[in-house]
């Protein structure tokens, strides 16, 4: 076994997991606190990526593009909440799924109308384009290491906001008893708008970071959305801690599965059989994992019963 390679693949898994976490954190907050199934979360990821690309081109600076992209997605998210989603909180989940699916179509076509259907060019800043030598002969892209760093930093900030600030207290209170919080004089509507906006900004951040390595194209959000739902089901709906742990588990399991399942199977069964079973099994792995978690802990790893 090549340990340098295993370590490198673990990093790959961590980086993928962190991207998933940024998406999952917003989705799980909105679902857990506002009881809203938001399929259009992937659209906000796309909006973030597009806004950042446009802003980077306009200002010529990556950091300015990142900042404008973040603020832009926050505003778009808040606008979506006020215009479209507010009326849906009292409706049942199926209505929410239908309405937010409509939002996906709306955003995909809107983006295609403004920027065209072809993939846009998005590159990271030149000062992050280098490599870091992990071991002799093993070079790792610096940009991906920075993504890991930003992901964990965001997790830390989120934990602090939710657990240690007044806003976080209101968010937690709103999640457990909406009527009581409103009765105590808190503007719960405004609180929801703010929470949704920040969830959107997190998705936007994921999109902005993903731009230089993935494809900035209409519909890019739907490609990652399914894995994000797997993450929050595994982690437990409504739990940020669950989102972080779930995302890292999914990221690492998926990556290691893709990398090592085939050679591992090759030692057990014949090589041609492993050739065909390996990739198929690797792409199913996270769903199998989700099934197991659901069987053992139906509410997810950090999910609460109610």
């Amino acid at each position: 076994m090549n340990w340098a390679l295993v370590f490198e693949q673990l990093l790959n898994g961590l980086q993928y997991g962190v991207t998933l976490f940024l998406m999952a954190a917003g989705l799980t907050l909105v679902f857990g606190i506002m009881n809203l199934v938001n399929l259009a979360h992937g659209s906000l990821y796309m909006v973030g990526a597009y806004l950042a690309v446009a802003a980077t081109q306009w200002t010529g600076s990556y950091l300015a593009g990142l900042a404008l992209g973040l603020v832009g997605t926050l505003l778009v998210g808040m606008a979506v909440e006020v215009i479209a989603l507010r009326t849906l909180y009292e409706r049942d989940h199926l209505d929410q799924v239908l309405a937010t699916f409509g939002l996906i179509l709306f955003f995909n076509e809107l983006v295609a109308m403004i920027w065209g259907r072809a993939a846009l060019f998005a590159s990271g800043p030149a000062w992050l384009s280098g490599h870091i030598e992990l071991f002799t002969g093993s070079r790792y892209p610096l940009y991906r290491l920075v993504i890991i760093l930003i992901g964990f930093l965001t997790a830390l900030i989120l934990w602090y906001v939710v657990a240690r600030t007044r806003l976080g207290m209101l968010i937690r209170a709103g999640a457990s008893n909406r009527t009581m919080v409103a009765a105590l004089g808190t503007n719960i509507r405004l609180l929801y708008t703010v929470v949704f906006g920040f969830g959107a900004a997190l998705a936007g951040l994921a999109g902005i970071l993903a731009g230089p390595i993935y494809n900035v194209q209409p519909g890019m959000g739907e490609l990652i959305l399914i894995q994000v739902f797997v993450v929050i089901v595994i982690g437990g709906i409504g739990s940020i801690r669950g989102a972080l742990v779930g995302a890292i588990i999914v990221g690492v399991v998926d990556t290691l599965g893709r990398a090592f399942l085939k050679p591992l199977l090759g030692t057990l069964i014949s090589l041609p059989a492993a050739e065909s079973a390996g990739p198929a099994l690797a792409s199913m792995l996270i769903y199998l994992l989700m099934a197991v978690v659901l069987a053992v802990k139906p509410a997810g790893i950090f999910g609460s019963r109610n």
């Binding site: 090549n2 390679l5 490198e8 693949q9 790959n12 898994g13 980086q15 993928y16 995909n108 295609a112 065209g116 259907r117 072809a118 993939a119 846009l120 060019f121 590159s123 384009s129 490599h131 093993s138 070079r139 892209p141 940009y143 991906r144 230089p212 390595i213 993935y214 494809n215 900035v216 194209q217 209409p218 519909g219 890019m220 490609l223 990652i224 990556t255 893709r258 990398a259 050739e275 990739p279 198929a280 690797a282 792409s283």
Partner: protein, 391 residues
């Protein structure tokens, strides 16, 4: 009340539509492609090229006005079948053309040919249609799926490149591409990796690949997968260090999205914007003028499909009922194809050249693909012997 108004309106509309149609005959062409979703960009390039072809023909074929019906298959077989039926029954088209995906093509061809109409495929090159299921009424202006990777296999074999790492998405076309590649490439293959269809991140596979120390990489990643693969291959520091040979991965659609990450990558193809012939020169110049970008091969073969239909309409002097006459005319491939002159094989697939292309950064800073050499001359696909058609 409302019903009566509606009825009156409907009659008025019906009259307005039927009146000019009775006055003069038109050539009606249905063009099916993917116009929505992430793959919609290919359909857009195809439609643009079809429109340019019509411009070049003065929007007339054999003196008759041309009417186009564009149908969106949404990247789905059932939607493709639905629009094809609508075109044939409701719009009464005389020809159907287009179609990007092999699965859609396999479903639509029997419907069009079964109704006695001619189908001109302008992308998908499903092998059964070149072999056992070839059809009198089906023509292709593109290629058979296997030919492009066969050309790459031949080139890499001739260069005696050894220790190749092979990658493709895990679906039928991915496996066909590798099979086509291996039909000519007989050197050492380090490993074959099949990734999930539509996968976004290839860093795990790139790490695996590096640990195997290959001398070259052969990959097939169409559409958005290609954009992601090329970016990540470059970011991993492999571009320029480890030669990358691809099919259907780098093209004029993906280059603007990856820019420098495409430089130095090899492709094989039957056509390229820099192919030197008068028809192609005119096509590329006018396309750039009209749309402000370079055309792509999907478009070039769609342009050819319109010219092929035009050649048939002219040959029968506009008598669109003479299907037999039009088939005979199409078999001659008597038009200025963008790939240069070519002939049709017994299976109605082109016998054509295949070239090695390399993405280069020009002195102007533009990144474009350039033909390096001819790999196959007048190349026939590997399935035509299974086609029982005689002519």
């Amino acid at each position: 009340m409302i019903n009566r108004t509606l009825l009156a309106g409907a009659i008025a509309v019906a009259l307005a539509i039927s009146a000019p149609a009775a006055a003069q005959q038109k050539v009606k062409i249905g063009f099916i492609s993917t116009f929505s979703g992430p793959q919609g960009v290919m359909g857009q390039y195809m439609k643009e090229s079809v429109e340019l072809a019509l411009d070049h023909l003065g929007r007339k074929m054999g003196g008759m006005e041309v009417e186009m019906f564009y149908g969106d298959d949404q990247f789905k077989t059932d939607a493709g079948v639905q629009v094809a039926e609508e075109m044939l029954k409701k719009n009464q088209v005389d020809f159907v053309s287009g179609i990007i995906w092999s699965n859609v093509m396999m479903a639509v061809v029997p419907i069009v040919t079964g109704s006695g109409h001619i189908m001109v495929g302008s992308n998908a090159g499903a092998s059964p249609l070149a072999g056992s299921q070839c059809n009198e009424l089906y023509f292709s202006t593109s290629w058979n799926n296997d030919q492009t990777p066969e050309a790459m296999g031949k080139f890499m074999q001739d260069q005696s490149i050894n220790d190749v790492y092979v990658m493709a998405p895990n679906y039928q076309a991915g496996k066909d591409m590798i099979a086509g590649f291996k039909r000519y490439y007989k050197g050492r293959i380090v490993e074959e990796t099949y990734t999930k269809m539509g996968q976004q991140d290839y860093q795990a596979e790139i790490s695996q690949l590096q640990s195997k120390n290959p001398k070259a990489v052969f990959a097939f990643y169409p559409g958005g997968m290609g954009v992601q693969f090329l970016k990540q291959y470059d970011q991993a520091g492999l571009r320029g260090k480890l030669p990358l040979y691809t099919v259907y991965t780098v093209d004029e659609i993906s280059i603007p999205a990856v820019k420098d990450s495409a430089v130095g990558i090899y492709e094989t193809r039957y056509w390229s914007p820099d192919l030197k012939n008068p028809a192609n020169l005119k096509f590329v110049t006018d396309y750039k003028k009209k749309y402000g970008k370079l055309p792509v091969f999907y478009g070039a073969q769609s342009y050819d499909s319109i010219l092929l239909i035009d050649s048939a309409v002219r040959a029968v002097k506009g008598n669109l009922a003479d299907t037999k006459g039009m088939v005979l005319a199409m078999r001659k491939a008597n038009f200025d194809s963008l790939r240069g002159p070519f002939t049709y094989n017994v299976n109605h697939h082109p016998i054509q050249n295949f070239y090695l292309l390399k993405t280069e950064k020009l002195a102007s800073g533009d990144i474009e693909m350039r033909i390096q050499k001819t790999i196959f001359e007048k190349y026939k696909d590997s399935y035509y012997q299974d086609c029982k058609m005689k002519w």
